[in-house]
């Protein structure tokens, strides 16, 4: 048997080498484009190049002077936060019957609820503008938020449904048989297990709304410029390196948020213990 065991060990090593190679390759692949943009944003030159022509913070300085960038970034943050909040409520609720329920047309409904992701968003942008104009609604931030909700709610539904599909129904039965009522079961047993799925969906939803150009291009009123629209103006006729600097700032903020989230989650674990 030693040969077999040796073969097993070789197989074991091969397996982990393969996993690590693919995983590190994947990480590099995810990282590289953003890295290039961030490095290029430090260029001292007049236009965006890689490698950068000298290093400077001039495009970040310019960014700080662009008041409209700050205003539009703040607006995008508000729109994305509001849209995500609504989408999470609608999406999490819808996920339960879509996974657990038994009713006619459930599969069709399940597929239907994905259609906002499948349709190129310019089609929805056009359609939503026709609709809003026809019923005489003025273009405003709430209208923009609702149109974002329509295109981001599928993320929440899908990721929550995936978590729910993996949740052991025995867990709930156990909780119920131990005397917990429906709400208590939901809050103490179901929700904590679904939280990663909901958080993932919310993150996708938030970023998609924050980054949405096409729908906003059609549904943002004249004084409701969002960050992607501003970015578009900065790149479209002339690639302003400050646009790359915006990406660098977003990367920095996200890094802070991830750290903070980690710290907060760690903290809740400590408290629960």
């Amino acid at each position: 048997m030693p040969a077999g065991r040796l073969g097993g060990r070789v197989g074991h090593v091969t397996f982990w080498v393969a996993i690590w190679t693919l995983a590190l390759g994947g990480l590099l692949y995810l990282l590289l484009p953003t890295l290039i943009i961030v490095v290029a944003s430090f260029t001292a030159g007049e236009y965006i190049t890689f490698p950068p022509q000298g290093l400077s913070l001039r495009w970040f300085t310019r960014l700080m002077a662009l008041a409209e960038v700050r205003v539009s970034a703040w607006r995008s943050l508000i729109v994305a936060t509001a849209a995500t909040a609504v989408a999470v409520v609608l999406g999490v609720a819808a996920a339960f019957p879509l996974v657990r329920g038994r009713f006619a047309g459930r599969e069709a409904l399940n597929a239907f609820l994905m259609s906002p992701l499948i349709l190129p968003s310019l089609v929805y942008g056009l359609a939503a503008l026709m609709f809003v104009s026809a019923i005489g609604l003025p273009l405003s931030v709430p209208v923009l938020v609702l149109s974002h909700v329509a295109i981001i709610v599928p993320y929440v539904i899908r990721t929550t449904a995936a978590s729910l599909a993996l949740l052991d129904p025995h867990l709930e039965e156990a909780a119920r048989s131990l005397g917990a009522n429906a709400w208590k079961t939901f809050l103490r047993v179901i929700l904590p297990n679904l939280l990663p799925g909901i958080a993932t969906g919310a993150a996708f939803a938030f970023i998609s709304s924050f980054d949405n150009l096409t729908v906003s291009l059609f549904l943002a009123g004249p004084r409701v410029e969002t960050l992607p629209i501003r970015l578009f103006a900065m790149i479209n006729f002339d690639f302003d390196p400050a646009a790359a600097a915006i990406s660098a700032v977003l990367v920095l903020i996200t890094f802070a948020v991830v750290l903070l989230a980690h710290w907060a989650v760690g903290l809740t674990r400590v408290i629960r213990l």
């Binding site: 104009s133 410029e225 479209n236 006729f237």
Partner: protein
């Protein structure tokens, strides 16, 4: 405390002034004057802000500039039929302008209320009074003088072997690509009614083509990075790239350039009075001169505007420049454009 008393008096004086101003009818209305117009972003936005928005703001008209491309703007205006139009004043180029007129989303203009429209070169004037031109561009050849030793002189030079693998083109889904196709057609005896020679010319050029772009903005990035080194391009886009010290130069081919016009039009449902002021301001000599310089480099549409020496012959401005500039029959182009795009989709592959 004395300081407090002074400040209170200031408030009083200020308050009275505001009350007085409000009592005078014309002034009060001026506070609420607000206008929305689109620009294309980048140099266009800076040019319009300095040349049109700021002078109007001095007269009490607040201008909000939104960034939207011509085609998107026309689609958006069509979709918002029945509601408020997305802008009061639309900035659009030839193709989308005529498409929008056909869709009936623009107002017929009372030309007598745009006194400056009389200054516009006859060659540039609209056939129907639905818009005024605000700037002229010409399409020529952009090439990188650092990487390419031979300067192209004519459209026909693109077929020279030394440019093989360096050429960039645009698809007719963009105005630039449509004009490129027509300039190739004209080179070989074609015209708006017969674009066949244009397609043949593009096909024969394909072995030299490095890339074809649906978004003209990409051509600039590619030129800056040396991915392509020669391409048919608008003079103002080329000048922006040149001014960054990239070594890119603009050549007006000996056959002459082809003109593309940017139009200002007023949407139905807009604040017409204010919009007319915007149009008129855009045609003021001072405004036209501002837009002809950095960072927009847009050709003036009225006579008598001097451009900077280094821009002479590049930014079309003088009657002599116009003499060499060809204009296109856009109504005829629009009739066939969908067909050309479909044909290009099928037949032109790199």
């Amino acid at each position: 405390m004395p300081t407090r008393r002074i400040s209170r008096r200031e408030v009083l004086v200020g308050g009275t002034a505001v009350a007085l101003a409000a009592a005078v009818p014309g002034r009060a209305a001026a506070q609420a004057k607000e206008l929305v117009a689109n620009t294309y972003g980048g140099g266009w936005e800076a040019g319009h802000r300095a040349a049109i928005a700021q002078p109007l703001e001095k007269r009490g008209i607040k201008v909000t500039l939104v960034s939207m491309l011509a085609a998107e703007l026309v689609a958006r205006t069509k979709a918002s039929a029945g509601g408020r139009p997305p802008v009061d004043v639309a900035l659009v180029d030839d193709g989308p302008f005529l498409l929008a007129v056909k869709e009936g989303v623009f107002q017929q203009l009372p030309m007598d209320r745009i006194p400056n429209a009389r200054r516009v070169y006859a060659k540039y004037r609209a056939k129907e009074p639905f818009g005024v031109p605000i700037g002229a561009s010409q399409i020529g050849i952009a090439y990188n003088a650092r990487t390419l030793k031979t300067r192209p002189e004519s459209w026909a030079d693109l077929w020279k072997p030394e440019y093989k693998g360096h050429i960039g083109l645009s698809t007719p889904a963009s105005t630039l690509g449509t004009v490129t196709l027509l300039s190739f057609a004209r080179l070989r005896g074609g015209h708006e009614g017969n674009v066949e020679p244009g397609f043949e010319a593009v096909k024969s050029l394909l072995p030299s083509v490095s890339s074809i772009q649906a978004v003209p903005a990409n051509l600039r990035t590619l030129l800056e990075r040396g991915e392509i080194n020669i391409a048919p391009m608008w003079h103002h886009d080329t000048t922006i790239v040149k001014m960054k010290g990239t070594g890119v130069e603009f050549v007006l081919p000996k056959e002459g350039g082809i003109a593309g016009l940017a139009w200002l039009a007023i949407t139905k449902g807009a604040n017409t009075d204010l919009a007319l002021e915007y149009l008129n301001q855009g045609l003021e000599p001072d405004s036209q001169k501002l837009m002809a310089g950095a960072p927009s480099y847009i050709g003036p549409v009225i006579e008598g505007i001097e451009v900077a020496p280094e821009l002479r012959g590049i930014v079309p401005a003088t009657p002599a420049d116009l003499e060499r500039l060809k204009t296109l029959d856009w109504p005829k182009i629009n009739e066939q454009r969908a067909e050309w795009i479909a044909r290009w989709n099928r037949e032109i592959k790199v």
